[in-house]
């Protein structure tokens, strides 16, 4: 089964950024809800993109990942401070939605709803003037590719770095969220930004896998799906939800204030 992000996942035709989202849920005969999430808003500056990965052992984790990725994109919460300010409202929205869905269900569904959900998160923002910034909690990865070569891998740069216990954003306000990490830099025309949830990120960084961050920009959705199936068969890709968001910048930065820079169809 493949799943794609919501209606805002495709790049707007007025944008200097061409963005695509591909997703394949974990391979399983009892196919369940996909628990990653990806959102992108590429039709206006600043362009924002986010991926999130709901933790398997929590329930309603897909809804939490969705709330986080969507929130980062809607509110441009791409600095640690902006993220810290935004999370409480997302937690309240998740709690209200889940309490309703869990009411009257068996004891374990109600208990899981009370336990809360957890997710990793990565957000990216590209400013019209040529700056980019990213914020992350956990092991989703950002790759920056230029001239078909990987120039930055963040926060990890080796497949071995991934553990089974990444930092996670909790849905319960009483649990202290980990401090988000931040990165920033300059972009130029032709750069490609790749956001990946952990299984795909570890796979792209695995030196034994026939894929890498620099090659995925040229893929289409079918090629991604086939590569995922092959990677799982060959055991170079862990059987987990696989999500990739690719944003390719097609035009050079615009000088001057962001609001004056084309394209201008702000939403």
């Amino acid at each position: 089964m493949s799943a794609t992000a919501g209606p805002d996942s495709s790049g707007g035709d007025a944008s200097a950024v061409d963005a695509r989202v591909w997703a394949v849920s974990k391979g399983d005969a009892n196919a369940d809800a996909y628990e990653d999430a990806a959102h992108v808003r590429a039709e206006a500056w600043p362009v924002r993109a986010a991926v999130a990965d709901g933790a398997t052992e929590s329930a309603f984790a897909g809804a939490w990942a969705e709330r986080l990725a969507c929130g980062v994109v809607e509110e441009d919460a791409t600095t640690p401070e902006a993220l810290r300010r935004a999370v409480p409202a997302w937690q309240a929205a998740w709690r209200d939605a889940v309490r309703e869905r869990a009411a009257g269900r068996p004891w374990y569904v109600e208990a899981k709803a009370e336990e809360g959900a957890f997710a990793t998160l990565l957000g990216l923002s590209l400013r019209a003037g040529g700056q980019w910034r990213a914020v992350g909690v956990g092991d989703c990865c950002l790759f920056r590719v230029r001239d078909e070569a990987l120039v930055r891998s963040w926060p990890f740069d080796a497949g071995e770095t991934f553990t089974n216990r990444p930092a996670l954003v909790p849905s319960r306000p009483s649990q202290t969220p980990p401090t988000p990490e931040a990165a920033s830099g300059e972009w130029r025309a032709g750069d490609t930004f790749v956001l990946a949830t952990d299984a795909v990120a570890a796979w792209l960084l695995n030196s034994e896998a026939p894929v890498g961050p620099a090659t995925v920009g040229a893929w289409n959705e079918e090629q991604f799906r086939r590569a995922v199936e092959q990677g799982r068969t060959e055991n170079t890709l862990r059987n987990d939800d696989a999500t990739l968001l690719v944003a390719h910048v097609t035009e050079p930065p615009s000088p001057g204030p962001e609001t004056a820079a084309p394209p201008m169809n702000q939403s």
Binding site: D32, E57, P106, K112, N164, N239
Partner: protein, 288 residues
């Protein structure tokens, strides 16, 4: 590498508890007399602990759509009789005495209302009544037929492995406060541990509950770490499997120092070390 099989619904693992229900389990833990007459019996503490643990196992597998069968679970009590304390339903009996955890989740013996402290959503806590599942009650009668229990466990895991030859191997957790009264348990333990899936031999862990005020000996790596004047401690040490990688990690996260030779064994366990070790011993690896 052994003990690395992914745990999924197609490839679940099994967790089997063996619980001492002999007469001596009516006594409180060692040192409990200091706390007065109200100290609960070891049987009560053990039943509460295992009921809580089963609840936590269910919750680890529960998603919004229901409970995923990552685990098949069994509980064998040994005292007046050797008997299974959780039973499969008639319509679903795999014949191993190990019940898919979704069936366990939907069929507790009863639900009790218990008072629990929960977050008030405002940075503090508040008391609330929560529904708590109870699968079995404490019992404490007669001797300690541990050999028979290990034998019944061996039958269960052998049949289960026939049905799941590629799974992470079954984990058997034996909790006792005394010596076997029906033979040499080491022989039965070796037989039990000789069964294996492609991923490794059956894991047998032992928790000896304290009748004394001595400090617990937790996760020893060598026989000389357990009391040398206690022959029985040596037997339980020999009966216990080494911890696989994932559980060594879990033990390290709980603050224990571990080696490749660390055994899944606690001698003179108090209630805290009982809970801690059962948590470590039921963490085979991440669920997929």
């Amino acid at each position: 590498m052994p003990y690395s099989a992914e745990i999924s619904r197609q490839q679940p693992t099994a967790i089997l508890f063996l619980l001492d229900q002999s007469a001596s389990m009516q006594e409180p833990f060692g040192g409990a007399e200091k706390t007065g007459d109200a100290a609960p019996s070891r049987a009560r503490v053990l039943a509460d602990t295992v009921n809580d643990l089963l609840q936590n196992l269910v919750l680890r597998c529960a998603k919004e759509e229901g409970v995923r069968d990552y685990f098949h679970v069994g509980v064998i009590g040994y005292g007046q009789r050797v008997r299974r304390l959780v039973q499969p339903t008639e319509e679903y009996d795999p014949g191993t005495g190990l019940v898919p955890i979704s069936h366990l989740a939907d069929r507790p013996q009863r639900m009790e209302q218990r008072v629990k402290e929960v977050d008030d959503g405002d940075g503090g806590t508040t008391e609330t009544r929560v529904k708590t599942p109870i699968w079995f009650d404490p019992q404490a009668k007669n001797g300690t037929p541990m050999c028979q229990a290990l034998d019944l466990a061996a039958q269960s895991v052998r049949d289960w492995i026939d049905q799941h030859p590629h799974s992470f191997p079954p984990i058997v957790l034996n909790v006792t406060d005394g010596e076997a009264t029906d033979g040499d348990p080491l022989r039965y333990a070796q037989e039990l541990r000789s069964f294996a899936t492609d991923d490794g031999e059956v894991l047998l862990f032992n928790i000896h509950l304290s009748a004394s005020e001595e400090a617990p000996v937790e996760l020893p790596s060598a026989a000389d770490e357990v009391p040398t004047d206690d022959e029985y401690a040596e037997v339980l040490f020999q009966m216990s499997s080494r911890l696989p990688f994932s559980m060594r990690s879990a033990a390290e996260q709980e603050g224990y120092s571990v080696t490749l030779d660390t055994r899944g064994f606690v001698f003179n366990a108090d209630p805290v070390s009982l809970v801690t070790f059962l948590e470590i011993g039921t963490r085979p690896s991440n669920l997929r």
